[in-house]
């Protein structure tokens, strides 16, 4: 598959009064053309920061993208782009859908204007045509009566409808990559499924690459072909959805999976939660970041950073358990 986006050793920090918060500490993954990838992890694991960095939305300062980080979009390092190039890239090549559509939409502008302004910015069309395009996009995301809806304000829409509007804005100008940053977290469960289905349909219909960012492994199963599991600013495991769901290697991924409710599970089986809290990113632990909560934790996990192991093609896991010395006590 042709690669659309390559994130290479991305490191992002934020400077705060208490010190440097190392939000993203060396993240690498690829997204192919038209491919759907999910980034999964708890809140604060750096997944949203990664998404915002790809969109160029990190403010510097207080943010800092460390030297050596690279994000290649169609072969160009977007981190080295000028402000003008960024403006062309944002929206036209890549767009984002935020978690809370109510906050992400401008409350005092009509929905039509918020879509049309993007269309007019990137394509040379008249205002009337831009509003026509806005109506078409609203229809595309499943909003009935678009001619009336374009004249309305965000507060006149329901939560699910607002998120559809966000998606319509993101789809305008046919970007090659759509980032959905927790698009369903603020919604009711039934509406969540609708939005996920919509994203999946659009991805296939428009052959658009999608990065779905979520803390909920349950919703990514049938959307994403590839899953990246993040913990404490690092990728701990990545692979195809079958790799992650059926042959997961990292104790953190396994723990996450045990926390997802399953229809096929025995009704008496309890859902497990992961004890403890993620480490503080101002002073991250020396070894494996998960070692403080890991049930399999070994002495070396607390002193040395684990290496990457590749299992099947593209299934990569960072864990000391797969070192030859650990084979013995794994069985034990």
């Amino acid at each position: 598959m042709e690669k659309l986006l390559q994130v290479k050793d991305l490191k992002v920090s934020f400077h705060s009064y208490a010190g440097e918060v190392q939000s993203v500490r060396g993240v690498s993954f690829d997204v192919g053309v038209g491919e759907a990838v999910a980034i999964v992890g708890e809140s604060g694991c750096g997944k949203s920061v990664t998404a915002k960095t790809i969109m160029g939305l990190i403010q510097t300062p207080p943010g800092e993208i460390k030297a050596g980080s690279e994000i290649l979009f169609e072969g160009t390092n977007i981190l080295a782009m000028t402000e003008k190039e960024w403006a062309q890239y944002r929206g036209a090549s890549c767009s984002i859908v935020f978690q809370d559509a109510l906050a992400a939409l401008n409350p005092t502008l009509t929905v039509g204007r918020q879509i049309a302004e993007k269309v007019m910015l990137h394509t040379k069309v008249s205002k009337a045509d831009a509003y026509k395009e806005a109506e078409r996009l609203l229809t595309l995301v499943g909003i009935p009566n678009p001619a009336k809806r374009v004249k309305q304000y965000p507060h006149e829409f329901s939560g699910g409808m607002r998120q559809r509007v966000m998606i319509a804005i993101a789809l305008a100008c046919q970007p090659k990559l759509l980032i959905a940053d927790e698009p369903t977290t603020a919604l009711d469960v039934t509406i969540q499924a609708d939005i996920i289905d919509l994203l999946k349909d659009l991805q296939q219909q428009l052959n658009m690459a999608v990065i779905l960012i979520t803390h909920d492994l349950g919703i990514v199963a049938d959307v994403a072909k590839k899953i990246v599991v993040m913990y404490s600013g690092k990728v701990v495991e990545k692979g195809s959805n079958t790799d992650i769901f059926y042959r997961s290697k990292h104790p953190y991924t396994q723990a996450l999976l045990r926390a997802v409710p399953r229809l096929d599970a025995d009704e008496n089986q309890e859902l497990e939660s992961i004890e403890g809290t993620p480490p503080n990113l101002i002073a991250p632990p020396v070894g494996c970041p998960f070692s403080t909560r890991c049930k399999e934790c070994m002495n070396i996990c607390q002193t040395q950073e684990p290496p990457e192991y590749e299992f099947e093609d593209g299934h990569i896991c960072r864990c000391w358990l797969y070192h030859e010395f650990a084979q013995g006590n794994k069985e034990a």
Binding site: L57, G91, L105, N106, P107, T108, K118, Y153, A172
Partner: protein, 322 residues
């Protein structure tokens, strides 16, 4: 929308009634008969007889219980009969309306001046948070809110009228000169003094508003559409920033009213404030009541108009009509 206006209007009327009761009772319960000064020879040239005093009490609505006095006074107020000034023997309302243009002119000029200065300063400070220019603007606003207006007036008179001789120090017109430019020249210093405090308040408000608006997520959405910093500022942030400023302007009418009393005293500006101060000094009881109520009305009307304007300007409020 209609519902919103009605609600606001009723609220305003309620406050107005309560204010009238308060201002009425301040004078009613104040020790000392307001007619006291008319009993002394200094005021009238002779001592008034008991009958004359009684007649005067009746004409001023000063007989009967507090409630009776209030209702009779309030009814007359509503009918436009605000009584006769004790010093000029003219109807109070006429006197007030005669002085009104000077005060409204001063207030209007000062409000416009403060907004013209405050909007760009507030936006610049807000978009350049913690930069040197923001620090300079903040320093100016700190001085602005801390400055005693009358002292600033005196200092400006010393510098611009006495030392440099550029601008007149008091009054509204030079005797014998009839020109608008002459009035403007007289008005510059009073308008500046009256504006300073409001200007500082507006700058701080607009600054903090800009900062919060810039941190809103819709700004990130706009950025992600590929809109540049300028486009975001003018297309998105500006409107959301300026909307609540309308309400703030409304809430500053009180400062404008009391400020005009002080500024008019310093510059001998022949407006409501000067009239008010002299009537207070002369114990011109109907005039004091009239001016108090008139000032409150200006203030309440200002608040009401600001709310109204906000209701029209902000789409989120229109939902009230449905």
């Amino acid at each position: 929308m209609k519902k919103f206006i009605t609600k606001r209007f009723l609220q305003m009327m309620l406050v107005w009634v309560l204010v009238s009761i308060i201002s009425f009772s301040v004078i009613f319960f104040a020790p000392g008969d307001p007619l006291y000064m008319y009993m002394t020879p200094e005021a009238t040239g002779r001592k008034l007889t008991e009958e004359e005093l009684q007649a005067m009490r009746e004409s001023l609505g000063l007989d009967g219980t507090a409630v009776e006095q209030y209702t009779s006074w309030a009814t007359k107020m509503v009918q436009g009969n605000w009584g006769i000034s004790l010093t000029t023997k003219e109807p109070v309302l006429n006197e007030i309306l005669k002085k009104l243009p000077a005060t409204i002119g001063l207030m209007g000029a000062s409000l416009i001046l403060s907004l013209i200065v405050a909007i760009p300063l507030g936006l610049i400070a807000g978009t350049h948070k913690n930069s040197w220019i923001d620090n300079i603007i903040s320093a100016i606003t700190y001085v602005g809110v801390s400055m005693p207006a009358f002292w600033l007036g005196i200092m400006l008179i010393i510098v611009f009228s006495m030392q440099l001789g550029w601008l007149p120090s008091s009054g509204m017109r030079t005797i014998g000169v009839v020109s608008n430019w002459d009035v403007i020249k007289h008005g510059i210093l009073p308008a500046i003094v009256l504006s300073l405090n409001n200007m500082a308040v507006f700058v701080r408000y607009i600054r903090s508003n800009t900062i919060t608006q810039m941190e809103e997520e819709y700004v990130q959405t706009a950025l992600s559409k590929g809109i540049g910093k300028r486009g975001i500022m003018y297309g998105h942030v500006l409107k959301n920033c300026m909307l609540p400023v309308i309400t703030t302007v409304g809430s500053r009418f009180g400062t404008l009213v009391t400020g005009s009393f002080i500024v008019e005293s310093v510059f001998a500006w022949p407006g409501l404030g000067t009239l008010g101060m002299s009537s207070i000094n002369n114990r011109d009881y109907p005039m004091v009541m009239g001016i108090t109520m008139f000032s409150c009305t200006i203030l309440l009307l200002g608040n009401f108009l600001a709310d109204l304007l906000y209701g029209i300007a902000d789409p989120r409020i229109k939902i009230g009509k449905e």
